[in-house]
């Protein structure tokens, strides 16, 4: 078979381009770090994480009880402690999430695709709800100026972290499992309008359509947000007027 001159030119150029692409790809590819831990070590890590999360629940419950006891004690000493100071303190507590918050609002329910078993899938599966999805919703709620919010009865405050370990979502370092119910006090109507705007939660909305993520929003007449039961870190902060 005789290859004509023009064909040979094209083949040569194409072959050259391919070689060039392959060589550059070789240079730019970063080898992914593969896990080299044996299964029992991974299990041990999981157990350790679980034990910390269990301890954390006990500690938070103790914090809740102590804060209640302090409140009762302050109320009992009201006359000595000056009513105005106590009122100031209560206003501040409301501002930082240390009181229950009641009002009108709405809830967002977010769940994995019904066809997915969260415990047996890759963390890259688009049909599961990621901590990043929850962060984006929380930020959107804050951008919409809601008064307060909680996720599965965990009060979320400005310093709350929303992260994950593998397929587990941690909010305020508490282990939460789907469905995630985000309850908030704020204007339902304006948030629904916001949600309908193009580009709002674009990735999540796409995965709702294409990957079966479940998303539902309902207005609520009576919302009660729980008291924040975590810690406040003040080890490195100093008041500037000190």
């Amino acid at each position: 078979m005789k290859i004509n001159r023009n064909s040979l030119k094209y083949i040569t150029v194409i072959a050259g381009i391919l070689v060039g692409v392959l060589v550059m790809a070789q240079f730019r590819t970063v080898t992914p770090l593969a896990s080299s831990y044996p299964i029992d070590q991974i299990e041990a890590q999981k157990d350790l994480i679980k034990s910390y999360i269990d301890d954390e629940a006990v500690l938070k419950s103790r914090i809740g009880t102590l804060r209640e006891k302090i409140n009762t004690s302050l109320e009992q000493n009201k006359l000595v402690s000056q009513t105005s100071n106590l009122e100031n303190l209560n206003i501040l507590k409301e501002e930082i999430g240390l009181t229950e918050l009641k009002g009108q609002g709405f809830k967002i329910e977010l769940d994995d695709s019904p066809f997915i078993d969260r415990d047996n899938i890759s963390p890259e599966e688009a049909g599961i709800v990621f901590a990043a999805d929850i962060r984006d919703i929380v930020n959107l709620l804050r951008a919409n100026n809601v008064e307060g919010l909680a996720i599965n009865d965990q009060r979320v405050i400005a310093t709350s972290s929303i992260t994950s370990v593998g397929n587990t979502v941690l909010i305020n370092n508490s282990n939460l499992t789907p469905p995630f119910t985000i309850t908030t006090i704020g204007d339902y109507g304006s948030f629904v309008i916001r949600l309908s705007e193009q580009g709002t939660l674009a990735d999540l909305q796409k995965r709702v359509k294409e990957n079966g993520i479940q998303f539902r929003i309902d207005s609520l007449n009576h919302v009660i947000l729980p008291i924040y039961n975590g810690q406040f870190r003040l080890k490195f902060i100093n008041a500037a007027n000190e």
Binding site: I14, G20, D55, I70, F130, N145, S160, F236, I237
Partner: protein, 217 residues
């Protein structure tokens, strides 16, 4: 002789074309956007360093124990009538700092990013700082408290925080243990690595100032 020259010319032509092709292919690959897409939620949280997470949980539990100790003391104080007023005043000062009603300062880190960045990075960086133990965070000198209105992406792509349009350089400041915060941001699979992989010509500066000041809200 002529035939031989013709053959050599043809060979040279082929070699030139092959080299041109290789150069062209290399240029295409160099120009190609070879970045990881972290704009979707997939990948923003995965591949986290488990040891770091364990450390975070351990630290968090230690902090909860400290909080219990503080509350125990406070309860003792408030139980004694004579100490109640002092205890309330102390609590008011502490809560004012948390609420952002007092100017504060402390050691920590400052991450300055020169690029225009997508809105999601703002929430992710702030979250990373709080997860790693930051006690207070500000973005371009706007302190984040319960009263702060969240990050909003305007139709033209600009980012607004608390009603103020932000423009680069974006400075994320966190008061806390500067070594812990720095190592969290710089950790493998950490936020800086993700940004490097996702943003073309990513330019940043991470510093640990001796004193970071944050104004009251």
């Amino acid at each position: 002789m002529n035939k031989s020259k013709k053959f050599t010319n043809r060979k040279a032509q082929i070699i030139i074309m092959l080299i041109s092709g290789i150069v062209l292919g290399a240029m295409v690959m160099t120009q190609a956007k070879y970045f990881t897409n972290y704009v979707s939620s997939v990948g923003r949280d995965s591949n986290e360093n488990v040891f770091r997470k364990i450390q975070i949980l351990k630290t968090s539990n230690d902090e909860l124990k400290d909080e219990i100790e503080t509350l125990d003391k406070q309860f003792e104080e408030t139980s004694i009538q004579a100490n109640a007023l002092a205890s309330i005043n102390k609590e008011i000062e502490k809560n004012k700092m948390i609420a952002g009603e007092t100017d504060i300062y402390g050691t920590g880190i400052a991450l300055e990013i020169s690029n225009e960045i997508n809105g999601l990075w703002f929430t992710d960086i702030v979250n990373e700082l709080f997860t790693s133990g930051a006690e207070a965070v500000s973005v371009n000198n706007i302190r984040l408290t319960e009263a702060t209105i969240g990050f909003d992406t305007l139709p033209n792509g600009q980012i607004m925080l608390n009603g103020v349009i932000l423009s680069p350089p974006y400075t994320f400041s966190g008061i806390g243990d500067s070594n812990t915060l720095r190592s969290a941001l710089e950790s493998p699979f950490g936020i800086i690595e993700k940004m490097r992989a996702s943003i073309e010509d990513f330019e940043f500066e991470l510093t640990s100032p001796d004193r970071i000041d944050m104004k009251k809200v």
